[in-house]
Symmetry: none
Subunit: 209 residues, 4 copies
């Protein structure tokens, strides 16, 4: 007794072509210049084929994001064993990306898409689509006793990524040291060891207290 439906199955070639076309146009022109007609044309596909499988433009973009097509070189968090350095490197890379016009458009496009689509929003919440997310890196740090075992991993991640998004929306230029200051601000009070703690303010502000 089968429940198999009749008829042809979804064309994988069409799906791939649509997602690739979407990724290409998204990166090239930004989210709001992205059109269904443009995607269909670029993919060599009928518009209806897109609408058959995705309800909206933002859903296609979400699928792209999920498939990792929007960040060819993933913005992963490195893991050198030093959490603070790793986070600074990671945020620094992101801020550097945001300095370039293309990167800024990409980020704001992503936020715009998240605005329209819950999946994109969720994905963004998971650290810019990276599968090895901030949370993962923080938990690794806990395992290595770099962080207190009860450190609010989730909240620290949200604060860092949220700050990045907020800065992207503000279009403020990222002064050098922003990444460092942000990491230190958020990480303060959660380090388990003195060595990895920032000497930042404390050392200078109250050197002899």
């Amino acid at each position: 007794m089968s429940e198999h439906r009749q008829g042809p199955v979804r064309s994988e070639a069409a799906k791939i072509a649509i997602l690739q076309a979407t990724a290409h146009l998204f990166q090239a022109r930004g989210y709001d210049h992205l059109t269904m007609e443009g995607i269909a044309a670029e993919a060599g596909v009928g518009k209806q084929t897109i609408y058959r499988w995705w309800p909206s433009k933002s859903a296609v973009v979400a699928d792209c994001l999920l498939g990792g097509l929007l960040f060819p070189d993933r913005i992963n968090i490195p893991d050198t064993g030093n959490l603070r350095e790793d986070l600074i490197t990671w945020l620094g890379n992101i801020f550097e990306l945001l300095q370039q016009p293309a990167g800024e458009v990409l980020m704001r496009s992503l936020i715009a898409a998240a605005t329209e689509n819950a999946d994109v929003g969720l994905r963004l919440h998971e650290s810019l689509g990276s599968s090895s997310s901030v949370t993962g890196r923080l938990q690794a740090a806990i395992r290595l006793s770099e962080l207190h075992s009860v450190a609010p991993v989730e909240e620290i991640g949200e604060a860092l990524v949220g700050a990045v998004i907020l800065r992207a929306l503000s279009r403020l230029p990222a002064h050098p040291g922003v990444a460092e200051r942000l990491v230190d601000a958020v990480l303060a009070g959660h380090s388990a060891t003195r060595a990895t703690m920032p000497p930042v303010g404390a050392a200078r502000v109250l050197p002899h207290s």
Copy 2:
């Protein structure tokens, strides 16, 4: 030889009608259902009158935001003298607002507008358009010695507001205690006094002090 221009001066009535219509439609339908033609019709104004003074839809919205028309009941940060409690109250209010459909749409609409318009983005960066911003409250706390005098006020504010925006984009339900956990996570390590520090983290952050 004068440089006075001829003709009537800008109609203040038209400007007010436009901004009020924009605020009304923005709150009622959200940013992406907001249209120039709709604003013109609602305000009883010609389209050209809008385009004469604002370059785009997002600019009108930015002006609304600046004029405080989008948040009739300002989301201000209270100042009871207890920073932690105040921040938790403030964030709690915002998360509560986000729980309601209208509030969620409003917030996401605001982010969408920020996506298109730098002014809106900047305004968002300044703590959700509130004139008494997070930064202000934090500096007040420094003056009262609730916070270390060198606490990275700017970064703490960014982290908190950013986290709110990120959660709004993620559409995740705000579990009770989110505000508290977030404030504690970010504030950890910056308190100057024992009393205002969260019990959980504080005990372990400086176990031997």
Copy 3:
């Protein structure tokens, strides 16, 4: 008589289902709301099965027409022995049909189909698909010496049916007496007997000639 022969046994059933579905939808919704997908769905048949046997929508309709499925109650010309009365009855019936919305749509749908398909056009030329056509009735009249033996039977038929089509296209309301006047106008000068000739104009114009 057995059904043991091999081959596509279902074929004939599908064909019948297609024609019936076509006839049904044609009558219900008119020619231009008739779609291949609608026919396939109604008939419980794959679209390709239709395309296998008919090149186009109009061809299916032509086949329906040929099979007499579009006029369940055929509009036949009666034969009471009095040609004039019979033609007036026949035309009167048609005009009455045209007065009803459904009948009007049906007729215009038929003309629309004829526009696209030569077979439908030919069928229309043969007196609205009726197998006992006008021409047949006229020839019967000749045999009974109601009409002159050389009366241009073909042309009289074309004139009558053509006038009906023209009136259907014009959407003019059929005033009472239209059928009578039309028959008399076209039949004038072809009657072999005085008795069957219309007294209409002749009686008044040349009453004693």
Copy 4:
């Protein structure tokens, strides 16, 4: 006290461009290959400008027809003083037009348009859009006593034009003499004078007069 409305007035240039583009494409490609998008493109006009003033494709065609743009060389009925000859010439011209592919398409396109639009149908009813219609020519003949004063002018016209339409739909080749036979068939019994009556029928219609 005026009732003049404000705002820009309808652009005559756009209207003319649309009608001309429609006429051109109609003649070139036929009614069913005529598209709104094609008209807009050809006229250099936005689609909405067409939809603002005409509800449908067929309405634009009706307007073209009304404006005489579809028959550059009007198919007028000549008036040489001899009704029979004039009608035969006229019908002969039309049948000749129908022999050419372009002419056939034009005529069937017109019928298709009439199928969808009452105005086109009415226009067709008035003798193929000619302003000097059949009826006019027949009434002139009555004034010259070529026709009985009570001849059913309207019905004779309908019969002739209707026959033309029917033949166009049938796609039957127009054998030589069709025009003559048709005119004689319909005109029989309405002539007031012997001279203009066809020799064939006349002799037998009133053999004893």
